[in-house]
């Protein structure tokens, strides 16, 4: 009885800590929300009045609609590509033994470590070398390269802990390898796949440095639009733009976070 009570006490301290830290984590974001309604010409604290005009300014800005659409296209398509290439590779790397397996794993994870600003510059050099024009596809390609390792790593983590007996059972009952994978393995590794997809999506939709050097009028994304604006302006529409961006992606991100939560990301 007494140990149970002490245990709860420890739990309560942890709970209180989590509460305080959560507040610290979101307070600066709350401040941005407050600033977005500030009627002053420049962001300041405390705010000097209430207005919605910064939101209407965002709404009236044609770059907003373009960048909003682009961000979603880039995030969804690059997540899709990352899944298509990442999951099969995870199957190969975990389930098969072959020379160079660890090297292949390291190669496929390597882009996880690349400093994004270096990668942004490197991609510009790549497209220049190919002589390919910059477009939304070149951006999707870059985000896929960054995202695929997340899918690979979370899939490998889950797959490494899965016994193969289920697959073997399915195979022995006459299922083809593909059928065994789709009906047995994939559902079992789904949490890892979901978590990887969630990461890929989030990293893509908030990324600035990769896109900086390869932005054109057609492929500009939301965070880059805000970054470009912030370099030369500090009126509250920057805050309003950030809030709108957050609201737009909140739906997807909440879904993605839930997926990551179930997946137990490592």
């Amino acid at each position: 009885m007494s140990t149970r009570a002490r245990r709860d006490w420890g739990g309560r301290i942890l709970g209180a800590y989590a509460l305080v830290l959560s507040l610290v984590l979101i307070f600066p974001l709350f401040i941005v929300l407050v600033a977005s309604f500030d009627s002053a010409e420049y962001i300041s604290f405390p705010p000097s009045g209430f207005t919605l005009r910064w939101y209407s300014a965002v709404w009236a800005n044609p770059t907003f609609a373009t960048s909003f659409q682009n961000s979603l296209i880039v995030a969804f398509v690059s997540t899709g590509i990352a899944l298509l290439v990442g999951v099969p590779a995870a199957m190969l790397i975990v389930r098969r033994r072959f020379p160079g397996r660890e090297l292949l794993y390291a190669l496929c994870l390597s882009s996880l470590t690349v400093p994004w600003i270096v990668f942004g510059v490197a991609l510009l050099l790549l497209w220049n070398w190919f002589g390919l024009g910059l477009s939304i596809w070149t951006l999707i390609f870059g985000h896929s390269v960054i995202g695929a390792p997340y899918v690979l790593r979370t899939s490998v983590a889950v797959l490494a802990g899965l016994p193969t007996v289920y697959e073997q059972a399915a195979r022995s009952l006459g299922a083809s390898p593909l059928r065994a994978f789709v009906t047995v393995t994939l559902p079992l590794m789904a949490p890892g796949v979901r978590a990887g997809a969630a990461f890929t999506f989030i990293v893509s939709i908030v990324n600035i440095p990769i896109s900086l050097f390869v932005t054109t009028s057609d492929n500009i994304t939301m965070p880059v639009a805000v970054f470009n604006y912030m370099q030369y302006n500090f009126d509250p529409s920057v805050a309003a733009f950030s809030i709108v961006q957050l609201l737009v992606i909140a739906v997807f991100v909440t879904f993605a976070v839930r997926a990551a939560n179930q997946g137990g990301v490592s």
Partner: protein
């Protein structure tokens, strides 16, 4: 390497046929791709210049926001198929594009408004670029704290270096594109030159202990001024006037003697299949009517002599004869050494 590149290209072309198709279609339709700094600059280009241009040519304008470094990198990276038709460049990068033969010469036949612009705004680039506006350097100051503002650059640096303004002085950092020019300009007002920048560095070393922050982007300078984190500092006229007009009544601005440094934005026509239309774009940028609206929004002075300024703000405008810029070719040569010295002596 050529071979591998070609075989790569074959594969990429096949795989990317779908990807490149839309941009090929884009190239044939009636859009011109131009550039702008983000925010109120972009808004002004969009609302003041673009409609007039579209009315004259039938072409839509697409604006790429960002900065000169990105734009120049994109043009230099794809010389055979530049992603931009016209670019608002920085003074030094404009020269880089000109030297590589990627931009076209502007003439009064192609750009009629050029004849109303003083030569000092296109001669630095041998007519391969023209600035449609200029900013002038000076100091902003908090007039409730500083009653006796300096009159000249040497006086400003000397008083700041003695700690007279406290640790409330601000200057740009080397990561700001105009700092190499600023170093030259300060040196030149104290007897130095591009070959002898010592006077500037000597003065800056003395001011360094009293700097609240060397800012990296001009918007930081504005924040420093408005938050009263800095009482006095170097900045362009237009930015300070814009702050004063939007309610910062404690701020004032003064151009110091003997000269002000120009901030110029050379507009350039990139060699593309739409160059003919791009010339008309540059001509629109020099047009007096939209330039006046631009001036009212941004407060940087139009270079076209035909612009008639509102009486209230006429006193603010610096006559073009009082501004200077360095010899750009010489500056480009010494910029690496300025950066090196700055890193060693100012950041050290």
């Amino acid at each position: 390497m050529k071979v591998s590149r070609r075989s790569f290209m074959a594969g990429a072309a096949a795989a990317g046929a779908l990807a490149t198709r839309p941009s090929l279609v884009m190239a044939q339709d009636k859009t011109l791709i131009v550039t702008s700094l983000g925010g109120r600059w972009e808004q002004s280009i969009r609302t003041h210049f673009a409609p007039l241009f579209t009315k004259r040519t039938g072409y839509e304008v697409k604006i790429v926001s960002g900065g000169p470094a990105q734009w120049t990198a994109q043009i230099e990276g794809q010389p055979s198929n530049p992603p931009l038709n016209a670019v608002d460049n920085s003074e030094l990068l404009a020269q880089s594009l000109m030297d590589k033969g990627l931009v076209l010469k502007l003439t009064p036949e192609l750009v009629p408004n050029l004849k109303d612009v003083p030569a000092q705004f296109y001669e630095p680039w041998d007519s391969f670029g023209v600035s449609y506006q200029y900013g002038a350097s000076g100091v902003f100051f908090n007039k409730t704290k500083i009653t006796q503002a300096p009159q000249s650059w040497p006086e400003f640096l000397e008083r700041a270096g003695k700690g007279e303004f406290g640790r409330n002085v601000t200057l740009p950092d080397i990561s700001y594109a105009w700092t190499p020019e600023l170093v030259w300009h300060l040196a030149s007002t104290m007897g130095g030159s591009l070959d002898n920048l010592d006077p500037a560095f000597e003065a800056l070393r003395k001011v360094k202990p009293y700097i609240t922050k060397f800012w990296a982007t001009a918007i930081e300078a504005e924040r420093l001024a408005l938050s009263r984190e800095a009482d006095i500092g170097w900045l362009w006229d237009g930015r300070v006037y814009a702050m004063m007009d939007s309610g910062a009544q404690f701020l004032d601005f003064r151009r110091l003697k003997p000269t002000s440094l120009f901030s110029l934005v050379p507009a350039q026509v990139v060699k593309t299949d739409k160059s003919a239309v791009a010339f008309e774009w540059v001509n629109t940028l020099l047009d007096p009517a939209p330039l006046l609206d631009y001036y009212k929004t941004i407060q940087y002075t139009p270079t076209n002599r035909k612009v008639v300024f509102p009486e209230a703000s006429a006193a603010r405008i610096m006559p073009a004869s009082e501004g200077v810029i360095p010899n750009l070719r010489g500056l480009a040569k010494v910029t690496p050494s300025i950066i090196e010295r700055w890193n060693a002596e100012i950041r050290g």
